[in-house]
């Protein structure tokens, strides 16, 4: 039903000296009386990428939300940064779901600054950030007048100032153009090089080759 492949020569979890950011054991989920996955075991070491693949409705989003701490698993445990302290965990994790959490009535700049305040980040030069994600010149237009891809860029701006070590991203490439996808992958590579880790789902294959890539394939609803 599920398979976990690792492209590194050694199974990542067994490597010596690698810090494990997240470890999940015997994870199962039933949603609306339907079994999505069961007895899942996964480890996310620093500087690695977990790529969750699978058809629609196979439980990708559910798994990501579970790892982020939004859902309680039906059974099994998720241990994070080897700590039980919820606050530490939330500070170290950044989750962006497929709903981008962008306020439609507010401008890109307002969205960026208010979100940064909630994230507790100090932004010295918001214009610089807007330029990086390609929103410069659009900053004073309410988000509802921007395209889906531009709105997604507003949400993804968080990745450029976030100090969270584990990023959990549900379909981050949705609605982005090729330039946007490339930009995002560059940022992912930078994040991994700095010792961060990444969990993502996508229907597109990654064009970038991370050093440590695990691919988790969730089976379809029908076996």
């Amino acid at each position: 039903m599920t398979s976990l492949d690792s492209v590194t020569s050694h199974p990542v979890a067994q490597q010596q000296g690698t810090e494990i950011l997240l470890h999940a054991q015997h994870l199962s989920s039933t949603r609306a009386n339907r079994l999505l996955f069961r007895d899942l075991e996964l480890s996310i070491p620093a500087s690695s990428v977990l790529y969750v693949a699978g058809p629609n409705g196979s439980g990708k989003s559910t798994l990501l939300r579970m790892l982020a701490g939004l859902y309680a698993p039906s059974s099994g445990t998720v241990s994070r940064f080897a700590t039980d302290d919820n606050e530490t965990w939330q500070r170290q994790t950044l989750f962006i779901g497929h709903k981008p959490a962008v306020k439609q009535a507010l401008t890109a700049l307002d969205n960026l600054q208010l979100q940064a305040q909630l994230d507790g980040a100090q932004i010295d030069d918001p214009w610089q950030l807007l330029e990086t994600v390609g929103l410069l010149g659009l900053e004073d237009i309410p988000a509802q007048q921007l395209s889906a891809g531009q709105q997604r860029r507003i949400a993804l701006t968080r990745l450029w100032y976030s100090r969270a070590r584990l990023w959990i991203l549900d379909e981050p490439f949705t609605a982005l153009d090729q330039a946007g996808i490339n930009l995002l992958q560059e940022r992912f590579a930078e994040h991994c090089a700095n010792g961060g880790a990444l969990v993502l789902t996508s229907h597109q294959p990654l064009t970038w080759q991370p050093q440590q890539l695990q691919t988790l394939t969730l089976g379809g609803g029908h076996e």
Binding site: N33, R34, D39
Partner: protein
């Protein structure tokens, strides 16, 4: 594998346990209700002031008491469900609410019927009737919320939170209504006040109370069993259970 099976065994175990209790509860409830009501309605002496009309007390008082008891029970269950995330407790909320709502409705109806000979009107803004009416609204809110959700598990959790909010409010509502009643009606003596009751009237009332308690418990057991079956419909043991019952018929 056991770890995987463990949580699902719970529903089945509870179902079987309730199945053992249910016949005993049902039989003793039927017996005590029969004895209590027949005694109360036919053999207890008439009241010197109210004549025979007081006899509705044998239905009214137990229904009113257990309507409040069921609400408290529901709130306690909701607390258990919220704190320990026990699924059986979540289903129990859904099992208790309709029983409690019906008991409240019965107490309101019998109160109104009793009010007619006593006050000459079907409805009097008496403090007890009013707070029973509000209790009924609280029950209806819990039920409406539960049935509004397609995902019954979420519905049960939401209904549980509402039940807890309600139970914090019940004493406040209760005392505010009593206070409002004295404010607006001066020194009206509520007719339900019974300073003392003759033993010959009291004994059937106590039997009726016991009967209603057992009846409430039996109804909740019965409904909870149904709720478990409905929630676990996709599990093999439920399907076997249903097939077994069909063969028996």
């Amino acid at each position: 594998m056991w770890r995987w099976l463990h949580p699902y065994a719970k529903g089945e175990a509870t179902y079987r346990l309730l199945g053992h209790w249910l016949p005993w509860l049902a039989i003793s409830a039927a017996l005590s209700l029969l004895v209590g009501i027949v005694w109360g309605l036919a053999f207890a002496p008439p009241d010197y002031q109210q004549g025979d009309s007081y006899r509705i007390i044998y239905i009214h008082v137990p229904a009113a008491i257990f309507s409040m008891g069921a609400y408290t029970g529901m709130a306690i269950t909701a607390l258990i469900a919220l704190v320990w995330q026990i699924r059986t407790a979540e289903w129990a909320i859904a099992a208790i609410a309709p029983v409690g709502a019906v008991l409240t409705a019965v107490s309101l109806f019998t109160g109104a019927v009793w009010g007619k000979p006593m006050w000459g009107t079907w409805w009097e803004w008496d403090a007890r009737l009013t707070s029973q009416l509000i209790l009924l609204f609280l029950y209806l809110g819990v039920l409406a919320l539960y049935y509004a959700f397609d995902d019954k598990r979420t519905g049960a959790k939401a209904a549980g939170i509402l039940a807890l909010v309600g139970v914090v409010n019940v004493p406040i509502i209760h005392y505010s209504v009593y206070w409002w009643n004295t404010l607006h009606q001066g020194a009206t003596i509520t007719k339900f006040e019974k300073p003392s009751m003759a033993t010959s009237m009291l004994i059937p009332l106590l039997i009726c109370l016991l009967g209603f308690a057992l009846f409430t418990a039996a109804m909740i057991c019965w409904r909870l069993r149904h709720e478990i079956l409905r929630q676990e419909l996709h599990r093999p043991w439920v399907q076997q259970e249903l097939i077994g019952q069909e063969k028996l018929n």
